[in-house]
């Protein structure tokens, strides 16, 4: 089985926010929830870079570790998913996530934040693949259809890569060698405890 990962080549990201839009549209993500977002570092200065960030589907995911009800599970493709039926909306995964991925429908509303929502790597949830229930709770299950996450598939500059970790790391390495620079595989050290030499 593949070990699915995301890789954002910040030297190619043009901050078009198409990945954000595609994600929202594909999964009909409600207002106020952003499974993916683009952040610009050193905005307006020389060397400014934009990075698109979502759930990185960490190795030994910290959200899963701190969840008091064990609602997280890791698929055979190493995608970190969760069950909204088991989530109690306590917010602990948000305190633990290094990437700010977990989202709540009612942030700031004490007592009930609602069920947590996050990037599913377009792999749905525990319900039957492609079922109506799965779509309503988690959005489309593209992985089950043999497709990669839409954000990466439609990225116009191929800055955002999704797929097997070894393959996308190889693509990134080749780019860095060819062009002579690379700002790093953002989040990889934190999420996967590995870096890609650049």
């Amino acid at each position: 089985m593949a070990r699915m990962k995301f890789l954002c080549d910040a030297d190619r990201c043009i901050e078009c926010n198409a990945c954000v839009t595609a994600c929202k549209n594909e999964h009909e993500v409600p207002w106020g929830i952003n499974r993916r977002r683009v952040v610009t570092i050193n905005d307006g200065k020389p060397g400014e870079r934009s990075v698109t960030m979502a759930c990185m589907h960490c190795t030994e995911a910290p959200c899963a570790a701190v969840c008091p009800v064990n609602c997280f599970y890791t698929t055979a493709d190493a995608v970190v998913l969760h069950s909204k039926d088991l989530c109690i909306g306590c917010g602990y995964c948000f305190y633990a996530c290094p990437f700010g991925a977990p989202q709540y429908p009612r942030v700031g509303n004490f007592g009930s934040r609602g069920k947590m929502d996050k990037c599913t790597y377009c792999a749905g949830g525990p319900e039957a693949d492609g079922s109506k229930e799965e779509y309503e709770k988690y959005g489309a299950n593209r992985l089950a259809e043999g497709k990669l996450p839409l954000c990466a598939e439609m990225c116009s500059t191929k800055s955002l890569l999704a797929g097997d970790g070894e393959i996308i790391a190889q693509i990134y390495k080749e780019r860095v060698v060819k062009r002579g620079y690379g700002s790093g595989a953002w989040g990889w050290k934190t999420a996967y405890r590995e870096t890609i030499a650049s």
């Binding site: 200065k45 020389p46 701190v66 620079y181």
Partner: protein, 350 residues
Amino acid sequence: MATFAGRIRFLVGAVALMLVVAGAAYAQTAPAPAPAPQQQQANPGGAVNPTASAVKEDDLLRQLSIISGRGSIPDAKAYNIEQPAGRDWQHFHEVTLRWIGAIAILGMLAILVLFFLIRGMVRIESGRSGRTLVRFTAFERFVHWMTATCFVILAISGLNITFGKPLLLPLIGPEAFTAWSQWAKYAHNYLSFPFTLGVVVIFLIWLAWNIPGRADVDWLKRGGGIVGHDHPPAPRFNAGQKMIYWIVVLGGAAVAITGYLLMFPFYGTDIASMQLAQVIHGIVAALFVAVMLAHIYIGTIGMEGAFEAMGTGDVDVNWAREHHSLWLQEEQAKGHAGEPPPRGRMAPAE
């Protein structure tokens, strides 16, 4: 003219305040540090290559605990893209806190069981006199039991968050555990309000009797009558009870403040400070539970005649003489002490 001068003063003050606020805001939005100049490289053509001086993740991670930038969505906290500290907090919640909680609570239980086996119930040595006096009014008892009930539910639902996953979840299965945890979470959140109110009222109504004094030093030196069979004089609250009082007031304040910070995320906090709040909340609460176990022990099976102080509100005069002699003297001076217990009224024969 006086009003004009007043207006000028107000304007000057307002401008000064604006400068301070603007300065603070600027400090918060200070940009990520620029890369080191030696990273500047030149293109083959000799021109400076702007992309070669790009921010590098590695450099930022070395310098910052949070990598953040500018985004285009209203949710400002989404501008933080990476904070590796989340990984550390996981260790606290899953390992450290469980050890602290287990050692504190099981250790206290072990001590209490051992103590009970050795010492047994502390008896009223001179026996019951049959005369009672009022120790706690109905209002005091109401506040005590309101706070106590909330505390027990808060403690159980809180322990569920830390210990439920390894202990309860395997027993009852994920669906039942989620249903229970969901209710426990609501109970934990909503009962925090009467609990906090109770702590505040406790602080106010018993403060006057809980200022440490000279009698407390003497009481502690003589083992408080718990260790051994001594009965050192004590006012209404002895040194041990004063300790419980201050643990409830200060510990209650700590768990209430940190709890509300967690309940209202991002009101003056960020991820790091919410993690810190959870660390304080967890540790203080675990120790709080351990201390309250001792409090429950001494108020029930640990001491004869103690429970009725919070039960009916009346204590036996001999109990008061042995454990709170100074308080009994005060009450007797006021003429409150020594009421015989109410007898069943004799119905006149007809």
